[in-house]
Amino acid sequence: MSREIGHRFPEAEFRIDPARVEEYVTALGVEPTPGYRAVPGAEVPPGFFMYVTTYGAEPVHDQLGFDMFRTVYGGTEVEMYHPVRVGDTLSVRPQITGVTEKDGRSGRLTFVELTTEYLRDDGTVVLVERSNTVQRSQ
C-alpha cells in the first residue's frame, strides 16, 4: 500500500467497446444526444471515462489501500482535448496526484485525487480524467 503523490500505475490499453458504452447508456436511461446509438464511430460522453471502467478498480484500490466500506466517491473532472469515438483504442495512464488528510467529525478523512491520461498511439493526450475519493478512518 502506498499513497505517494506522483505514483504512476503501469500503462494499460483500453478499447472503447460498443457493448460497454451501450450498457452505460442503458443504465442511465438517458441518451447523451437524442437518438444516440453506441456504434463504432459514435461520440463517447465524458461521464463514461472513469478509471474503474477503463483501467480496473482493483489495481488502483489495492495500491491505495482502500477499504470499500469506508470509501466515498467524491466526483470527477474530465477535460476533453480531442474527440474520442466508440471503437477507439487508447492508452490509459493513472497517476496519484493528490493526497490530503483532514480531521472530520467522524474521524480522519483522506482525500485522494487520481489523474488518468488517455492517449492515442501517436502519444497525443485526448482526454484527462481526475477522480476524487474520500477514505474514512473508521
Partner: protein, 135 residues
C-alpha cells in the same frame, strides 16, 4: 441554437433509479463494489440500502449539456457528488449558462450544473465548459 448568459437548458429528468440500472452500470464499469448491489453489504457501511454509482450523477449532468450542444462541444465537465442516490430516487438536472468568453473559433461558455433528488437534496454540483462555434 445560440446560447447566451442566463439561458437555462432543458431539464433532464432521469428515470427512477432501480436495481437493473445499477446492474447495467456495474457491468459496464466492471465495478466490483457490492455497495451498489447488496443491501446487507450497504448496511454494513452504515447505509439504509444500496446506493447508485456516482457515475449516474456525473453523467446526467453531462447529458443535460450534451443533449443541447453535442458531446464534442464539451471541453470540460466537472461534477462533485455531494449526496447519495437511493433506489426510487428520480434525479433532475439544472444547467445554466453563467459566463461567456471569446475563443479562437467562437466562444467558450461556462455552465453551472446542479443535480437534485426529487426530495430536493442536491446530489451533484459542478460546471461544464463548452465551445460555441461562430457561424
Amino acid at each position: 441554437m445560440v446560447l447566451h448568459v442566463g439561458d437555462v437548458l432543458p431539464e433532464v429528468e432521469a428515470p427512477k433509479m432501480d436495481r437493473l440500472r445499477l446492474a447495467y452500470m456495474a457491468v459496464s464499469m466492471r465495478d466490483p463494489n457490492l455497495v451498489h448491489m447488496e443491501d446487507d453489504y450497504a448496511a454494513r457501511s452504515g447505509l439504509p440500502g444500496v446506493i447508485a454509482h456516482g457515475t449516474f450523477v456525473v453523467s446526467y449532468a453531462g447529458a443535460a449539456v450534451s443533449r443541447v450542444v453535442g458531446v464534442d462541444a464539451i471541453k470540460r465537465l466537472k461534477v462533485d457528488v455531494t449526496g447519495p442516490v437511493f433506489l426510487g430516487d428520480v434525479l433532475r438536472t439544472r444547467a445554466e449558462v453563467v459566463d461567456v468568453e471569446p475563443a479562437a473559433d467562437g466562444e467558450l461558455l461556462r455552465l453551472d450544473l446542479t443535480v437534485n433528488r426529487d426530495d430536493g437534496q442536491t446530489v451533484g454540483r459542478g460546471e461544464a465548459v463548452v465551445v460555441q462555434r461562430s457561424r
